[in-house]
């Protein structure tokens, strides 16, 4: 069985490393992109099964990336998990049309919450 692949789009290098560590322990193949442009390139290369996406990125924000992903049939179907400090200001209902399945609050989440969220969106 193919190991599920997760792309982490996070410009905080150490937080990205932390998510990668947790997901790797849980058996996922996790790759990190530090910004939206790198994410687009990696999505074409690795075809991730899910994307964990920070909202406030260096350069383009997550919303630019979400628009880009929705522009193509194959990338538009990748489930997105937003992982952000701005969770309290976002509504999952407003973001569902952009493929967002879960919103994680960086300030309250436990390390394993990324694993639970990935597992959930891949069911």
């Amino acid at each position: 069985m193919k190991t599920p692949s997760v792309l982490i789009v996070e410009d905080d290098e150490w937080l990205a490393e932390q998510h990668q560590r947790v997901l790797t322990i849980a058996g996922y193949k996790a790759t990190v992109a530090p910004h939206a442009i790198a994410a687009i390139q990696l999505i074409d290369e690795i075809h991730p099964d899910a994307i964990i996406l920070d909202v406030l990125l260096t350069g383009n924000t997550a919303f630019a990336l979400l628009h880009e992903l929705q522009s193509y049939g194959d990338t538009g179907s990748i489930p997105i998990i937003l992982c952000t400090n701005l969770a309290s200001e976002l509504s999952i209902d407003n973001l569902k049309p952009y493929g967002v399945k879960r919103i994680l609050d960086k300030t309250t989440m436990a390390p394993d919450d990324v694993v639970a969220a990935v597992r959930n969106v891949l069911l």
């Binding site: 410009d11 905080d12 290098e13 150490w14 937080l15 932390q18 560590r21 947790v22 322990i25 530090p34 910004h35 442009i37 920070d54 406030l56 990125l57 260096t58 350069g59 924000t61 400090n85 960086k106 300030t107 989440m109 436990a110 390390p111």
Partner: protein, 247 residues
């Protein structure tokens, strides 16, 4: 912050009437380091981390907390600027920047990056307050660390302008170019001295720049940003010291 809530019309969302930065900006700026430290601590608590990783995570917690503490210290200092309890003195920028490079090296090394000084061998002295100038350059360097791409080095540069009357200390990063609309917002922010929800860096409230601008003003200095094809330079211009010409 020493003043009552009632004195501030924009207590939660903008600069305070007395020029203090908003609480929201400060809180936002501290969220990221605190969230990271929390994640790493919880992971260590769980105990399933290999020894090498444990050491690395503890180092990251320590360096991240130092970074957050620098911000809180800068905030406190900016509030006390009105006390005018600081002096301007002739400073050797080379020496100051060498000290900063030494101090920042562990943080940069932990990110697998390098910070280096680029300057003439004997730059002119400048007139500044050592502590405030140090805080400004540290702030610019922190910013550059986040923005620099790959393993590119961040450069602290010393240059002489206007026939030796102005000394420019700049921090150059080799990251993605700042989009032109962001650059305009940023230049406006540097000019207006107010943190806003529009971000110099998207994840930043601009609080660091706001504080730097305040420190620069207190030393009759000027801060600005120059966009490059492959990154940006944040700089401060200060008066050169004419101490030598009096000898």
């Amino acid at each position: 912050m020493g003043a009552t809530t009632g004195e501030h019309e924009q207590f939660y969302n903008g600069p305070l009437n007395d020029g203090l930065p908003s609480i929201v900006a400060a809180a936002h700026e501290l969220k990221s380091p605190l969230a990271l430290m929390r994640q790493l601590s919880l992971m260590l608590e769980e105990g399933n981390v290999p020894a090498d990783d444990q050491k690395r995570m503890l180092r990251q917690i320590s360096l991240t907390s130092e970074r957050a503490l620098r911000l809180t210290s800068d905030l406190t200092r900016s509030v006390r600027l009105s006390d005018a309890l600081f002096t301007l003195e002739p400073i050797n920028p080379q020496q100051l920047c060498e000290d900063i490079v030494r101090e920042l090296a562990p943080l940069f090394n932990a990110h697998n990056r390098d910070v280096k000084l680029v300057s003439k061998r004997h730059p002119l002295l400048l007139v500044a307050n050592r502590d405030l100038l140090r805080r400004i350059i540290m702030n610019f360097s922190d910013n550059a660390l986040h923005y620099a791409e790959g393993d590119s080095a961040v450069e602290i540069r010393i240059a002489t302008l206007k026939a030796g009357n102005i000394i420019r200390l700049g921090v150059r990063d080799y990251g993605p170019a700042i989009p032109i609309d962001t650059l305009k917002t940023l230049q406006g922010k540097l000019a207006n001295c107010a943190p806003t929800p529009v971000h110099a860096r998207p994840q930043s409230s601009g609080l660091g720049l706001y504080i730097s601008r305040q420190f620069a003003d207190a030393m009759n200095g000027h801060i600005g940003v120059t966009q490059h094809r492959d990154g940006a330079t944040f700089y401060i211009d200060l008066q050169a010291s004419h101490q030598l010409s009096l000898l």
